[in-house]
């Protein structure tokens, strides 16, 4: 159900954003815009399929806390 919703929503977004993609000023811009469009679509599908994606922020913060500990005392 989630996957279907994502495909429909993303489909609408994709076609709505195709025009600026075509009008992009150079090939580099076209490639980047296509990457972000398709990348976002793949990211959404993976998430909708229930795959657990690690949170970037939480991973970075946990890395810091595991490496350096906390500066302020706990209790």
């Amino acid at each position: 159900m989630y996957i279907l919703a994502v495909v429909v929503v993303y489909g609408i977004i994709f076609f709505a954003d195709l025009r600026p993609l075509i009008k992009a000023k150079n090939i580099k811009e076209t490639i980047f815009l296509s990457l972000i469009l398709f990348g976002g679509f793949i990211f959404s599908i993976i998430w909708a399929a229930g795959v657990k994606i690690p949170s970037l922020g939480e991973s970075i913060e946990k890395f810091f806390i595991d490496t350096f500990g906390t500066v302020y005392p706990q209790k």
Binding site: V9, I13, E29, F32, S44, G57, E61, K62, V71, Y72
Partner: protein, 411 residues
Amino acid sequence: MIDSEKISSRVFAFSVAGVIQSSVLLTSLFIDMVRQDSWIIVLLGMFMVVPFILMYSFIMKNYPDKNLFQVLEKVFGRVIGKIISLFYLYFFFQLTSLNLNDVGSFINSALMPNTPLIIVMLITMSVIIYAVKGGISVITKYAAALVVIVVVVFLLAALLTLNIIDLKNFLPVFEYSIIKYVQGTHIVTTIPFAEIVIFLMVTPNIKIKPENIKKFFFTGILIGALTLLLVVTSSIALLGENLYLYTIPPFEMFTLINITSALSRMEILSAIAILILLFFKISILFYVTVVAISYFFNLSSYKPLARVLGIIVVIYASFIYDSMIIHTFLAANITIFIWFVFEFVFPLAIVIGTKVKNKLQKAIAPNSDTEINNEQQGTGIDNNSGKEAMAESVDNNKGKSAQSSATQQII
């Protein structure tokens, strides 16, 4: 420039105020730490943010037509500038996602407990995308109105609860260890106050005289911080020592308003005020994120990115933290240090870099002036010698022609 729209200096000041006011939801982060002394933390935070504002004003004054990424490239060079810009991209994206998650959690816990979080965030984001596609002037057009409405709502709450406040709730003062106050001040300075660093990304869009930047920055901070102080003091006066038990004290205090049957249970007013502010803050944050990505990848327009990034932000915000407990713990212990790098360390490096560059340029300028003078003098001598040489050659020619005419006469 990706977005050529301009906002006035007043709108800028109210936008700063709005961004700070929207942090009323985050008061629970430091209220839990020093409870009845939380108002002291807000006051200390107001003083601690002064050097931050001075730095941001300096950067805006020195680079009025450049956004933060362009300034980084100018000061540190292309490679280092791009690397620091990449870190800032993470910072903007993370801030947007965190605030969107806060909106979803607030609506979920206070207003619509049965609605899935993702739906709430998706609907909120749809409106934000629409606003962001309009540009910076559309987002900030009603900043003044929003800020005034919020101040009025919280003032009204304070007035309508005057009959039940207890000033003894503020006692005892300074009950906790100093480190708790330090941590609380650190939280209030980095999380709501210094987040105004985001405005460095819209410097070229602000129509402001360089000498007035500091004034409008301080005005915005003052309005925002005083509103936060009003909310915190009202919450302490009303909820007393049970304050830390509530997840959103500014929301809970409205439930206590009970003047007559007509004027009771007014928490919906608080909910509207908080939602308006968060919508405003996320709109600015999301705009900054989208514009930052467009600058980073040298795109001609930011608008095609708005919808796609909006969806990615919604999805990322849905799993940004495993639980609220982890979120609160990390925010109070780790996030404040990471944010400090973006809000203080990098801007300070820009200020130092700019000052060093200016000094070097001044030191080089007099030397180059003397070199130019010397060169000019050198060419002057050459010219003179050239003239002399020409004169000699003319004389020689004259001599030669005289000699030839004399020979002709003899012949």
